[in-house]
Amino acid sequence: MVQVGRTGNDGAQRSGHRSLADQLRSWPAERVAQLLTDRPDLATPAPHDFGQLASRAASRSSVARAIDILSRGEVSVLDALVVAVETTRTEIAQTVYADPSFVGATVDRLLDLALVWESTEGLRPLSAVADCLTGGTESGVSGLRPRSAENRSVARTAELVASVSPGARRLLEHVVAEGGTATAGSARVGISPGDETSPAEELIAHRLLLPSGDGLLVAPGEVGLAVRGGRTTTTPVDVPPDIAWSERPVRLATSAAAGAAAEAVRHVEQLLEWWGHRPAAALRTGGLGVRELRSAGEHLGLDNGGAALVVETASAAGLVATRADVDGNPVWVPTDAFDSWMELDVAGRWAVLARAWLASPRLPSLVGERGPDGKTWNALTPELSSGVLPETKRMVLTELARAPEGSGLATGTGLASLVARLAWLRPRRPRTRADLAAWAVGEAGRLGLTGLDAVPSYTRDLLAGADPVPALAALLPDPVDHVLIQADLTAVAPGPLLPDIARSLHLVADVESRGAATVYRFTPASIRRALDAGWSAAETHAFLESVSRTPVPQPLSYLVDDAVRSFGRLRVGVAESFVRSDDEAALAELVHHPRAAALGLRRIAPTVLVSTTPPDILLPRLRELGVAPVAEASDGTVRVGVVEPLRARAPKQRVAAAEEARAAAHAAAAVRALEEGEEAARSRPATASSPANALSALRDAIERRADVLIAYTDDRGVVGERTVRPVRVEGGRLTALDPSDGEERSFPVHRIGRVTPSP
């Protein structure tokens, strides 16, 4: 029964291939490109030809990486292929406890990943696969050994197993369950049926346990299969665990998510605006100290965890970076990217944050926890990241997006079921995954990627690589262009304000409450701030009238006039640092102010004071004392100073999308290079003489289980040729069978000069 080859989309020959390299050669370019995309390590550096590509694909480290991205079901199929050594699609479908269509599809995927290839004798896994399949059944590994060369059918072996004594059968089952090997102990290995004196010897006599040297006994694959009823596992392997859902009305979940999204944007905005004026000190190690984090949290009204997430997300989006302050100490300040970010609408700003978070390996949820060295983790510490986190985040959201309409992750049991499902999808990820997944769920909720643990439409767009902005923008409140000014000197913006109005209002009033709406309060100090920035009384009045939908209350107009009246009553000179005023009483007031002593003020004329304090210190001190001085330049004109917020340069970002595009381009380029290399290889003789080619030829022979003729320099410097069957290449040594006596020999690869495939 030979049914090799496949009727896949590539239309490969029905009779299989001589080697993996040959099979890769037969693939259309797109399929090769897909391979290089799925296993990016094969494409860097670009392989010369298909021989080298196949050789690289067969190396153990690359195989291990490829297996890492398989689900538990896929690993089970791969494991069954290893047990079968060489098999057909029909046979493997019978061996795996799963739906045949699942097995078929999985075999196709394993072929696409070049973990398995179709030889003329049947499907073969790469030889490194068996070594890489570690872990127990929870990783999809059955624990059965490969089949022996005895060519017994499973059915016949099963009859044999049924015929042995119950003691021997129990022993056999135990050996199979414990990994398929046992020590021979005192059992004699070379006996025939009838001579046995113990269950072990009985099994040896019936060749159900085979001696494998070193005093070990092996239960070969067909025996294991026979014990397990013809299949590698006793339970189905193609059923991923379900996630527990609970009802979450779409309207509510979406609204909660959009609310959180707007909130996250607001937090980043508020924090960075603050840091622009009052930079946060950076630690020497590059992180953000606990005290700074706490004050950021207080400023935002968040706990430390929430503040850490805001800080880390802003940093991941390149909106914050370190620079030196005036004293040369490192401080965290917004980058110039922050200014362009602020130009976007809220949905656009959110998209930047969400993409950055999705691609970020940072672990803000660990902030405040103790690290392995017993020290607490600080936010923005460079080491605080995990390479598998971006994949986990994406998988978590993808799985949550699978939720039936109107439902979200169940409270309580939901998270555990999600972790179980992730464990099935990526069985070989580390144990910390449960934590990572929990953090991802929590952070996604806070950032508005989910609402009530359900995935809203705009996040689905984001995951699909589409633009989430239109869908999100439709959910967010429309910007408003007016405020309601009230007699208690507050102004309420009943929605997000247009950016330029918001900027002006920020100047002339203090923010009292934030949220979907903003409450501003006018105080003498805030009005003075606008005057300091160069606004005139008329301008201030005009602005208030233009933005207020209701008449400006009389007390506010009075407040503005009052501030203007006292504004600039004092003038501070640059040259000698003087204070002068036409208002003598005001000067007297100042000189006699108990807190003015440190300023060294002295009255030199009824209307002039001099000070020993430089103007840049004197000015703020005077303002603290409640007067409103203006600075005067040396030519007597008034200096108007607006404090520019601090900015740092944005760090270079590794943008996920760009990365992907680069990878795709890289794969395409690699394929082209491969085809050209192949042309060159074809014109070369079959004999491989360069070290790289020799290695490829050896790997090729391993996969083909074929003999090669090697030219080998022995210890005495004599070059001899010999025919060997390579078994593995590892650590610079080739292990091969000598066909003449069947013994394993080992050769240093660097001594092998030429490799010629046997005819």
Binding site: G259, Q554, A585
Partner: protein, 551 residues
């Protein structure tokens, strides 16, 4: 997104757009759980606090209703964390309950054992509890009922009190509604209180809180102890009760510095109750003098701390608190909640004003400039002297004279803080002065004369702040106050907001409230603080310069 009238902010404030068609409906829906913080002309600010949510729980609302209300009326998506917080906070109320056990007496019981374990481990509480009866129940010393409730509230696990009330000594009390009727909101307030057992009724000054008290007494039909702020107010309560209820003069006793009568209905002042001699309260016996069935606390927001302690021992008796505001300058709102009871009724000033029960007011701040010489003195003065200097400037006298002249014929009060200043004004204006030194008899005579229009102008100190009905006052001129007290501002405005009879043209009078402040001094700063309160209550005010006044 709906077009609702409410904006829910992440800092737990709720902004209600007043002109929205759904505003009234929404106000009614959020009032049970949100405290009105500010009510200026366009947007009212409410705040969701744990106390507010627990008040709502006590009134029988659950978290689902609250969340549903927020989602229904909210214009924008509601912050998720806020909804979670509401649910969690509300779930904390009633996990613990005070019950009457048939054999063990007063017990603290819980449906949630970890919570009980948590509070049992709190040091402050251990001393108040007796032996453990079973896993979920622990005995409570009966005398600690109030203290325990207070301590549990501080721990964030307010207990629901199911231990009930003693009926007290019965005494027939009826409302005598021959020539008047209880207003709807007054009846509603008394009704809410009675069903809730104990609690606080919040009504603005002039809205007739005394009548709510009387109606509560008519519900209880039992001996009643009434605690009021001062003697004058005590007399007013007495007069009002005689006029509005079936009680006669003989049934009502006064317990004050001057007289010590204990009768079925006894009115005592805070001052006499909290008098301390040699470390003991000699008048504490008052609380045990009779088997009171009801205790009325007037002006709860002023309740002095010792009364809180005494009230802790009175938890088995029904208590009603009456106040214009739950805001306490000392921040002891939580004690009011745990010791007197949750808020049972609340109506904002403006609503009642628009129903015509209290007079609308025109608030004006008049700014005077200190003369040059005073400025120098002011600038060099010690900080603690500054307010007095600024507030008592001579410039104000002229302005007061102008204002009095402008409103001649209208009953006018001039209110101030400093006796010198008041004496000076009294001389200048040729008007009687009432201060703390004036005898009660003299005070009553003058107030009576003012009420009947015999005197058109009174100069009064802070004795007039509380509970004195001067319904005829139409103009108040404030020359100085106790720094920036918001309460005081409310009380002073309250003097003016008692409804008078409509004038001959059928128009309701408009009250005028003037504050005179010195520009560029602490006086102006304090004035700003106080006015902010007025503006937040919805009373728009104007600021004018003294020069403009003369025009």
């Amino acid at each position: 997104m709906t077009e609702g009238p409410l904006i829910v902010q992440s800092d737990k404030s709720l902004l209600l757009e007043v002109d929205h068609p759904q505003a009234v409906e929404c106000r009614r829906a959020i009032a049970p759980f949100a405290e009105l913080e500010r009510s200026p002309e366009h947007i009212h600010t409410y705040r969701v606090t744990p106390l507010g949510l627990w008040n709502a729980r006590a009134a029988g609302h659950d978290a689902e209703q609250v969340v549903d209300t927020l989602l229904t009326y909210s214009r924008y998506p509601v912050p998720h964390s806020l909804l979670v917080d509401v649910a969690e906070t509300m779930a904390r109320y009633g996990r613990l309950r005070l019950d009457k056990h048939p054999t063990h007496g007063l017990v603290l019981a819980s449906t949630d054992r970890p919570v009980l374990e948590e509070v049992l481990r709190a040091k402050k509480i251990a001393g108040m509890l007796g032996q453990r009866i079973d896993d979920d129940t622990v005995a409570v010393h009966p005398s600690e009922r109030g203290n325990l409730k207070q301590a549990l509230l501080k721990l964030g696990w307010p207990a629901e009190d199911y231990a009930g009330y003693v009926d007290g000594e019965a005494h027939p009390i009826e409302l005598a509604q021959e020539d008047w009727t209880l207003r709807d909101y007054q009846a509603e307030a008394a009704e809410s209180f009675w069903h809730g057992g104990s609690g606080v009724v919040v009504l603005p000054c002039g809205a007739g809180k005394t009548l709510v008290g009387a109606a509560a007494m008519a519900h209880a039909k039992a001996t009643t102890l009434i605690l009021v702020t001062n003697t004058v107010s005590a007399r007013q309560w007495k007069d009002e009760l005689i006029r509005r209820t079936s009680l006669t003069e003989d049934e009502i006793g006064e317990y004050s510095g001057a007289v010590k009568q204990i009768r079925p209905v006894t009115i005592a002042t805070y001052q006499v109750v909290t008098t301390r001699r040699k470390g003991v309260y000699p008048h504490l016996e008052l609380f045990d003098a009779r088997d009171w069935g009801l205790i009325v606390y007037d002006e709860v927001h002023l309740l002095p701390a010792p009364i809180f302690r005494m009230t802790a021992d009175l938890q088995a008796r029904r208590r009603i608190g009456l106040t214009a505001t739950l805001v306490r300058e000392d921040g002891r709102e939580g004690d009011v909640f745990s010791l007197i009871g949750p808020k049972r009724y609340d109506a904002p000033w403006k609503d009642i004003e628009s129903q015509g029960w209290i007079a609308p007011a025109d608030c004006v701040e008049v700014r005077v400039s200190l003369p040059e010489s005073s400025r120098l003195v002011y600038a060099t003065a010690e900080p603690e002297e500054r307010y007095r200097l600024a507030a008592c400037t001579k410039e104000k006298v002229g302005v007061v004279r102008d204002l009095v002249a402008r409103h001649s014929g209208q009953p006018t009060l001039v209110i101030g803080q400093y006796l010198d200043q008041l004496e000076e004004l009294g001389e200048e204006l040729d008007a009687p002065v009432i201060t703390g030194e004036t005898t009660v008899k003299e005070r009553q005579r003058l107030f009576e004369a003012f009420r009947h229009g015999e005197t058109g102008l009174l100069v009064v100190s802070k004795v007039a702040n509380f509970s004195i009905d001067l319904p005829s006052a139409e103009v108040a001129i404030q020359v100085s106050g106790s720094f920036g007290s918001r309460q005081e501002e409310a009380q002073r405005l309250g003097r003016l907001l008692r409804p008078g009879d409509p004038g001959p043209d059928g128009e309701r009078k408009i009250a005028h409230f003037y504050t005179i402040v010195s520009r560029d001094t602490v006086d102006a700063e304090f004035a700003q603080h106080r006015q902010r309160f007025l503006a937040e209550q919805g009373y728009a005010y104007r600021i004018i310069d003294a020069d403009e006044l003369q025009v």
